[in-house]
Symmetry: C2
Subunit: 180 residues, 2 copies
Amino acid sequence: MCAAVHRAVTELIAEGGADQVSIPAVAARAGVNPTSVYRRWGDLNGLLADVTATRLAPEDPPPDTGDLRTDLLQWAERSRASVTTPETLALVRHAVGQLACADSGSTPRMAARERQLATILARAAERGEPAPTLRQGVDHLLAPLYFRVILNLGPIEPADVHRLVDDLLHHHTGTCAPTT
Amino acid sequence: MCAAVHRAVTELIAEGGADQVSIPAVAARAGVNPTSVYRRWGDLNGLLADVTATRLAPEDPPPDTGDLRTDLLQWAERSRASVTTPETLALVRHAVGQLACADSGSTPRMAARERQLATILARAAERGEPAPTLRQGVDHLLAPLYFRVILNLGPIEPADVHRLVDDLLHHHTGTCAPTT
DNA sequence: AGTTAAAGCGAATCACTTTGCCTTAGCATG
DNA sequence: CATGCTAAGGCAAAGTGATTCGCTTTAACT
């Protein structure tokens, strides 16, 4: 049942955005009784949080190729591909909408991404490669990666990812990039 | 009545996030009848959209000091101060949560910000100042500015705004910045 | 067979929303 | 001044969908 419900949530949210999702609708599509869903997940936010965690949290460990640029490229492209997906996009947007002002925590997903990035940068620093700070990584790689897509500001292609990584590294290493 | 309702929405959303806001709750706090609210604004999204537009859309025109860096600093600081406000933050988050995948448009607010940035950059280019592209501006200034705050990734201070503008300009002009 | 956890089912409940009707205020016209 | 029209808002009753409750059923394991 658990699997069917998750699938139903994913389908519904990918089709019509977050407000097409209700417990009765999900239950109907999953072929289970709404009561069962209420019992297991409590309410809609609980359910969506669980789906989000299940679909997005068990991200594989960040790449570790021994080269900062390669690590970043692989990691960023993976992130891009993930958030470009309709389901992921809708889930992330919903998570944003749920954040209350007073919350000190971020979305679990974004916190996980930030941690992955931190790992990559820390490893590079250990190897002695010149590496940007986590803050720079977040501001100039993680942020633009997600910002455009989340806000429908335009598409992001693999080429854009490449450019962002270049920007970040050139800027940090002091190698002046061509300003295309 | 219109004013009282707007005030009620703003207060409620600043207090407890977007899902503390319901038409009956707003009406009660504003001292009006829920029916009146339904009649005027249709539904909750209509009401919130109107509040968002009223509070955020009539942004003043972007600064025009004749110097790109100064323009960017003033504009970015203004944006930062605005989105740091609990009401604005909650409204923006809610708007994000409302975006459906298929939507081609962004939030009105963000589109407006992007346009302001475009104006600033275009004016600099006309004056012959070396200016980054709009894409660079969005990726490296607008995105980090909002990303951190929207996702609760950490506070943003005026000093951070300064650093972001520096990053953007140094990177573009080829002057290698100190990587603090 | 006995026990227990998980899920189904229908009725009841609750909150949000809609509807029809009534009151009030503003304003023009006879 | 009185009349009548219209727009805005209040009020209560009815409608709708989500949520909860009590209870039964099923299936796995002992």
